[in-house]
Symmetry: C2
Subunit: 204 residues, 2 copies
DNA sequence: ATTATGTTTTTTGTAAACAATAAAACATAA
DNA sequence: TTATGTTTTATTGTTTACAAAAAACATAAT
């Protein structure tokens, strides 16, 4: 087996979806902005077909809202009570993940997580906040996926996306890295309770 | 304003999606069954385009799993720990809904809910269990939607679908009607605690 | 001036043809 | 007989063209 990890191959649609998520979360596409399929198709150099697929996907993720024969537009922020519920549910999922992972994480896992944190730090230094958001998510994604596979990721992901939509601000740099480091250290030490505590502090 | 409620107009895609959900939940489409776009298109008398949209939608709902260049197949049941998590999360959402709805339900709402229960009873008597499942879900849907609108329904729905997939058999008739009646009565009485208790008994 | 109505334009929904990929069937050699 | 490589077939992904619906606009009546 080769030493370097296999680079992830993403389908065209996945890449477009990724780009559009970034645009929405970064605020380039403001809430309630109407999307035009033809425009998007031209921008990405594709036909409308794949674009429609992506729109449907992001709609299911809660980033867009679609109406029949009218089209899709960027979803607006949640009202506070729903946002609170979302946070609570996402916490439940990730706490579940950590509990499942007790004594299950290998050296390879810790290595991967450490690399993610390194990249996170690096993105902060470059002040590439869009990338920061993505890497932040990938840290959590790693744990959730390890604990529950694609199934769990699929239910978890919409919560993350929906929450991101509500955070217009960027968390302060060191704080974010430190929080994730604390979680990782607790996991390394096999201290589930501490990891859970760190997680709850991080998800807010 | 007219006395009769406007009948709900469903898009073609929504109707196909509904039919396929029924097929999956009823077991007509067994887990791991591979879906063929062309076949489906012919069966529903459409082209592959809308079928693909539906497949994507059901994939996001967790009923199907898709692989690049390979296609979609019916998802398999969750392992018990994930199933437990799902139940817990769904309960959280619906408890939230009931709490939000305290003193918010109108006479019209109660009437609608009562009608749903009547239809539920009727479907049982006809032994139309696919319909029973749908009506059961619509009862919960009513409350969730009233509490959190489309946003909340969108998060909630995948849990319901995924759980249904795990239940191969229908709960005993009277029991199901009684459970929902108990919830409705508690709501009528404004007894949130009792409604929550009934809900937790019902979601399992 | 304002509302109502009809027409044009734009945009989304659907269908059908085409290209690319993966699975299956088959053949060949160790 | 198994393993590997090639050809064929079937299925998905994408594009293009067309149909239907909504939005924008213009016109006419009150």
């Amino acid at each position: 087996m080769s030493g370097s990890r296999a680079p992830k191959i993403l389908s065209v649609k996945d890449q477009i979806a990724e780009q559009m998520r970034s645009d929405i979360i970064s605020g380039d596409l403001a809430p309630n902005t109407k999307l035009n399929e033809k425009e998007l198709a031209e921008r990405f150099g594709l036909s409308r077909g794949p674009i429609r697929d992506v729109i449907l996907q992001l709609t299911k993720e809660g980033l867009l809202v679609s109406k029949n024969n009218v089209g899709a537009s960027v979803n607006s922020v949640l009202d506070p009570s729903l946002q609170k519920l979302m946070i609570s549910l996402r916490r439940n999922i990730e706490v579940f993940a950590i509990e499942q992972l007790k004594d299950k994480l290998t050296e390879k896992d810790f290595g991967a997580l450490e690399k993610i944190l390194f990249d996170l730090q690096s993105a902060f230094e470059r002040e590439d906040f869009t990338e920061v958001t993505k890497i932040d998510i990938s840290f959590h994604n790693y744990l959730v996926h390890k604990a529950g596979g694609d199934d769990l990721v699929n239910i978890w992901y919409p919560f993350v996306m929906r929450m991101r939509l509500n955070y217009k601000r960027i968390t302060s740099g060191v704080e974010c890295v430190n929080e994730h480091e604390a979680i990782l250290n607790a996991l390394r030490a096999g201290d589930t309770a501490k990891a859970v505590k760190g997680l709850k502090a991080n998800i807010r």
